[in-house]
C-alpha cells in the first residue's frame, strides 16, 4: 500500500526532508499556529507529544484531555505553535471540554487545523472532519492508528480519502512515530500556502437558507468587522442556538475565552457553571 497521497506528493518524497526541532514549552515567537482536533481518544495528545517533545498526559479513554495544551516545534526554520485540543465528536456539542475545542477551531484563528482521525472507525471520525472542512480550508487529516487498522485487517486508502476530502491525508501511527515526517511536511505546506487545499463542501440546498445566511452574515460583518466564521455563527443563530445568540447579543462573539490550562503548570479555568443553577 502506498503511504503517499497526491496533493503534495512531490514534497513528501524522501529526497526533500525538513528537519524537526522539538521546542517543548519555548513558545516566545511563532510563525504559524496549528490546532490538533479530532474525536476523543484518537491520539491527538500522542501526536502533540511526538511533535513538541512534551509529555502531555495520554490515556486510552475518551475525555483524557480536558483543557487545551500548547507546545512548540520548529520545522525548516519556521516556528509553529501547536495546540492540543480536547476531543470532540462534533462542532455543536455543549460540554465544557468540547466547547474548548470548538471555540479554538472557530475563533483561535489557527493557520492549520490538523484533524486526527481514527483509521479503525473512519465513518464516525469523518463526521467531525467534514464539519471542520465546512468552515476552514486549511486542514490536514492525520489518519492515525494505522497500526491498529492493520492489526484488525482493515485496508484504508489514504489516496482515495485525500481525493474525496480535497485536503492532504497522512497515514500515521503516532505511537510508533510512523508518518510524523510527512505530517510535518504537509502542515508546513498548508501553513505557508505552498499548497492550497480545496476541501470538499456540502451544499446547503435548503430553500431560502442561502439567502437567510447571506443576510445575517452581512449584518454580522457590519456589526463586528473582524468576526471569524460569520457563516457558522449565522447558521447557529438561524438554528436558535441560545449560547451563540447570547454571545452575539453581548458583543462577545469571536472572542476566545482564556484557557491555557495544562500549559506551563498554570491552572485551568472553565466556563463557570454555578451561575445558571437555582
Amino acid at each position: 500500500m502506498s503511504q503517499a497521497c497526491p496533493p503534495t506528493a512531490c514534497e513528501s518524497c524522501s529526497a526533500a526532508r525538513g528537519t524537526l526541532e522539538k521546542l517543548g514549552l519555548r513558545l516566545e515567537k511563532w510563525n504559524h499556529v496549528v490546532a490538533l482536533a479530532g474525536n476523543p481518544n484518537t491520539g491527538k495528545s500522542t501526536v502533540f507529544n511526538r511533535l513538541t517533545g512534551l509529555r502531555q498526559h495520554t490515556g486510552n479513554w475518551p475525555g483524557k484531555t480536558i483543557a487545551r495544551a500548547e507546545g512548540g516545534f520548529a520545522y525548516n526554520g519556521r516556528r509553529f505553535k501547536l495546540v492540543d485540543l480536547p476531543g470532540t465528536y462534533s462542532l455543536r456539542s455543549a460540554s465544557p471540554d468540547e466547547t474548548v475545542a470548538r471555540e479554538f477551531i472557530l475563533f483561535g484563528k489557527p493557520d492549520v487545523t490538523v484533524v486526527v482521525v481514527d483509521a479503525t472507525c473512519l465513518e464516525r471520525n469523518l463526521n467531525l472532519a467534514l464539519q471542520i472542512l465546512q468552515i476552514t480550508e486549511r486542514v490536514v487529516v492525520c489518519l492515525n492508528l494505522m497500526d491498529e487498522a492493520r492489526a484488525n485487517n482493515l485496508v484504508v486508502d489514504p489516496r482515495g480519502l485525500a481525493a474525496d476530502l480535497g485536503v492532504p491525508v497522512v497515514p500515521c501511527a503516532a505511537r510508533g512515530g510512523e508518518g510524523m515526517e510527512q505530517l510535518l511536511a504537509e502542515i508546513d505546506a498548508v501553513a505557508t500556502g505552498a499548497f492550497r487545499p480545496r476541501p470538499y463542501r456540502l451544499r446547503l440546498d435548503v430553500p431560502g437558507l442561502r439567502e437567510a445566511v447571506d443576510d445575517i452574515v452581512g449584518r454580522l460583518r457590519a456589526a463586528f468587522p473582524d468576526i471569524a466564521h460569520a457563516e457558522w455563527v449565522a447558521l447557529r443563530l438561524l438554528e436558535g442556538d441560545r449560547a451563540v445568540a447570547d454571545r452575539v447579543a453581548r458583543g462577545e462573539i469571536g472572542r476566545l475565552a482564556p484557557d491555557h490550562a495544562a500549559t506551563a503548570g498554570t491552572e485551568p479555568a472553565a466556563a463557570p457553571i454555578g451561575g445558571g443553577l437555582r
Binding site: 509529555r55 490515556g59 479513554w61 475518551p62 431560502g208 457590519a222 456589526a223 443563530l237 463557570p272
Partner: protein, 469 residues
Amino acid sequence: MSEAHDIVRAAEEMRWRLPRNYQDRLTEAIYAEAARIAEKSVARRGTSRRLDLQVRLDRLLTGPWTGLPIIALCFAVVLWLTISGANVPSAMLADLLMGQVYPWLRELAFAGLWPWLAGLLVDGMYLATAWVISVMLPPMAIFFPLFTLLEDLGYLPRVAFNLDRLFHRVGAHGKQALTMAMGYGCNAAGVIAARVIDSPRERLIAIVTNNFALCNGRWPTQILIASIFLGALAPAALAGVAATAAVFGIAVLGFGLSLLSSWVLSRTVLRGEASTFSLELPPYRPPNILRTLYTSLIDRTLFVLWRAVVFALPAGALIWLVGNVSIADRTVASWAVGGLDPLAWFLGLNGVILLAYIIAIPANEIIIPTVLMLTVLVTGNTELGAGAGVMFEAEDDGVRRILTEGGWTALTGLCLMLFSLCHNPCSTTIYTIYKETRSWKWTALATGMPLVVGFVLCAAVAAVWRWVA
C-alpha cells in the same frame, strides 16, 4: 449593543420562514457523506482475530455478573501490591533519611547555628520533609504506574460503563466514575475532570462528591495506619491481607458515600433526572510499559512528591513553632491539643489528630508526619530520645511505639482512617472547586459536607466501639 440585538432578532424571525428541521437535514447530509466516503476508502480483509478477542474480553469485563467483581478484584490487587510492596522501601528510606542523615544534620546545625534556628530548620522543616518522602514515595511509585497501566489498556471506560447503572440510579452522570477515578490520583484533578460532564447539575454533583475518592495524599495514611493498627489484629502471616482488606473497605465505603451523597444531592439541592450520554469503549491497547513507568514516575509521582515537600517545609516550621513557643508555661501545641481533646474523644480521635488536620489543610500528604511530630512534642517523651530526635526510629515499629505511647488504640486508628476519608478537601482542591464552579455556595457545600459526614461517622463508630468494649 442594540445592533447585535437586532441581528439576533432578525435571525429569530427568519428562522420561522425556513423549512422545519433543516438543521437535521444538514446533519443527516454530513452523516451520509461520511458513510459514503468511509465506505469507499476502507476495505476489510477477512476476519480479524484481534477483534474477536476484544469482543470476548469485553463480554467478560463488562458482563452484568462479571463486571463489578472484576473491578473490585483489580482494585484489591492494586492495593495489595502497593501495601506489600511499599513496606520495605519505606523502611529503607526512613532509615536513610532519619536514621543516618538526621542525626548528622542535627549535630551540624546545633553546632553552628542558634539553637532555635537549628531546631526550626532540622527538627521542624527537615524532619517533616523527610517523613513526607519516606511515607509518600514508595506507595506512590507503585500505585501510580499500576493505575496508569490500567488506564492505557483502556479499562477505565469499561469501569465507567459497569458503574453507570449505579450512578444513574442515584441521579448522577455515568461519567462520574471517570472523575472519581481521577480523584483517586488527586481530587483537584478529579474536580477539573468533571468538565467531561455536559449537564451542569450532574457536573456539580461530581465536583461536590469527588472528595470521597481517596486521593494519593490519603492513601499512605490509610496504608500506614491500617498496617499498624488493623493488620496487627490479625495473625502475622495475614497482616498484609488484613491491612489490604481494611484499606479496601475504606475505599469501598468512600465509593458508597459518594453514591449516597449524590443521591441525597439529586433529591434535594440539585434535583433532576440523570441525563443519557454515549461513552465510547476504546479498543484495548497493549500499554507501552517502559513509557508508562517513565511518565507516571517522573510526571505524576515526582510532581506530587514535590508538592508534598513544598507544603511540608513550612508546615514543619509551623509544627516546630507550635511545639516550642510557650504561652504561660505551656506550648501552643499543648494548649490547642488540650482544647481539642474533648471534641476529639467524642470522635474516637485525639486532639493531636484534629490539630494536625488544621495544620495540614494545604496538603493531606503531611498528615502523618504532622501527627507524629505533634505526638512526640506534646507527650514530651524523653525516653525515646532527645525531644524530637526520636524520629529516627522510623520503621513501622517506631511509629507504632510513638503512637501507642501517645495513647492510641485500634479505635483511634480506625477513626483516623474514617476521618481521613471524610474531612474537608485540601486547600488546593477547595480553590479548584471555586474556580470550576465560580460559586462560594457550592465550594462551601463541597468543603463542609464531607466534614459533617466524617464527624457523624467517627462519633457513631466511637460510641458503638466503647459500648461494645
